[in-house]
Amino acid sequence: MIALPAYRVALALAFVVLTAGLARADQLVTDLSEHQIAIRSNFTGTQVLLFGAVEARTPGARAINRDIVVVVQGPNAPAMVRRKERVAGIWINHDSVTYPDVPGYYAVASTRPLEVTTTSDILNALRIGIESIDPGVAEARAIDGTEQMLLPEQETAFWKALIRNRQRDRLYVSVPGGVTFLGQTLFRARIDIPANVPVGLYTAKVYLFQDGDVIDTISSPLYIDKRGIERLIYRMAHSDPLLYGLLAVLGAAFAGWLASAVMRRP
């Protein structure tokens, strides 16, 4: 775990406290401890703190029946799920299902479990919760690459497997109780970002629920990208792959020559 710099936390808190008093209507004010996460050579995952405040409609009113749900979502990309089958004693990849629009990262934290926060209809409509992710129209293929039809329950098994896999990699996380109120109006949530996160633009969405209805939402961007030498290498490998490959091989050949030059010395 990486400790957040104290000044960032203090800044975020100060921002929240100062701006909270200005609001008239019942609304949210939030900020992230970081808006940019750099993946450098020492990156082993990090944490993002989300701070916020709920400003009550009538000053001095107690925050009752209020729930906060925080959803942090990573860039969408196609993903393929493959199922192994035993063929001649060996487990091989057999059928596959491709989903066009799968978030690379999905974290949901809430003050109370989602099912007591609101109805499943609202959760589905707002795409809150891992079960509400809409991956687009699935395309099933057999081992030889031909398209095939799957029964809904078969397809569901593939989708559940994708969620299970991403949960195992800590890319999909659900933390009921992950949002905590500090007193009447201030709340905070801690979001774990594992080392294997995809790079790209993330959004942190905060929903304010009252008696099961959304009364305010706020969304802030979070940018995760490779930086420094990591970025240089990655970009070069993809934009100039021939030069990159030549450099890698020539560097290796040079190392081999260096080794033999050193060896020949008595």
Binding site: N42, N93, F158, A161, H238, G256, W257, R264
Partner: protein, 307 residues
């Protein structure tokens, strides 16, 4: 200390990778092999994506075979003409291997094929080496000299396109060396190895080359074939991780120095039995994973557009 690998997109422990490089370098120095066929499975066990393991491993093979080829160059134990013929086959083999690799990864079967090829080659070669070294150890104890193979002509001498290889004192058709080179080149692209462990027996038993030029010539050919393979893996599959390759090369270079020295003090036959045992163990481990029921039948891959 952890370091994030930019292409493999995962953090690894620097010490683990260096230690693996040293250990494999030690073995490769000791046995005079490239070590790719040991390193690639180890990288896969560590969780490196198989494609990145194979692509990156080629850089390590380039480094160690350059060292080997230079040593044999100063000893004048390279048959350049034979090397060039093997290389011609190797280049063609490497290119078709890369295409095969790409097609198999698109079909989702590359991990399986890498494992299968490793299981087959490691177990066959491990078993052959084990039998041979045990026989040699027994013969040495009993005082009997193992029977030598006769030098009689075989079917290879009936083939056309004969060429004279002065350094190897051979007058044979170029078809067998080209085929050997092609086969090893293909394996090199799929397995991330130099292929010396296939080429050297083929040169001795099939082409009947004199043993003093076999290793040098094999190193000479491996340098260029793996260099080409490495560039193509980087170009077509984006599968070469320079940071990982750098760590492997450093560890390998250091380990090889000690391996060469250790080999001088240890008996050759026992060494070969040990290497055979290592090969058999790795093939058992890989084979076991192919036949046991996986904990999760489903796996998820990102759909990356291939060029």
């Amino acid at each position: 200390m952890q370091i994030y690998l930019p292409i493999a997109e995962m953090p690894v422990s620097v010490l683990t990778i260096l230690a693996m490089g040293v250990a494999i370098g030690f073995l490769s120095g000791m046995f005079g092999v490239g070590g790719g066929f040991l390193m690639t499975p180890l990288l896969i066990f560590l969780g490196i994506p198989p494609a990145v393991a194979v692509g990156t491993q080629t850089t390590q093979v380039v480094a160690s075979s350059v060292t080997g080829a230079l040593a044999h160059f100063t000893r004048k134990s390279i048959d350049f003409k034979m090397g060039a013929v093997l290389l011609a086959g190797g280049v063609a083999g490497s290119i078709s291997g890369i295409f095969l690799f790409k097609a198999l990864s698109r079909m989702g079967q590359i991990d399986l094929v890498i494992s299968l090829v490793y299981v087959v080659f490691l177990s066959v070669i491990g078993a052959m080496m084990m039998v041979e070294s045990v026989r040699a150890i027994r013969a040495a104890r009993g005082g009997t000299v193992p029977a030598r193979r006769g030098g009689h002509h075989n079917w290879i001498h009936g083939l056309p396109f004969k060429m004279r290889f002065r350094r190897s004192k051979l007058y044979i058709s170029v078809i067998p060396p080209i085929l050997v080179g092609y086969f090893v080149g293909t394996l090199s692209a799929i397995m991330g190895v130099g292929g010396g462990f296939i080429m050297i027996p083929a040169m001795i038993y099939l082409l009947r080359m004199p043993t003093n030029v076999v290793i040098g010539t094999s190193f000479f050919q491996i340098v260029f074939v793996t260099a080409l393979t490495g560039v193509m893996h980087a170009y077509t599959n984006f599968a070469v991780d320079i940071v990982l390759g750098f760590l492997l090369v450093i560890g390998g270079v250091v380990g090889a120095q000690y391996g060469v020295r250790a080999a001088e003090r240890l008996p050759a036959e026992q060494l070969r039995a040990l290497l055979a045992a290592i090969l058999l163990l790795i093939s058992l481990r890989l084979g076991y994973e192919l036949v046991t029921t996986p904990t999760d039948l489903y796996s998820v891959v990102d759909v990356v557009p291939h060029r």
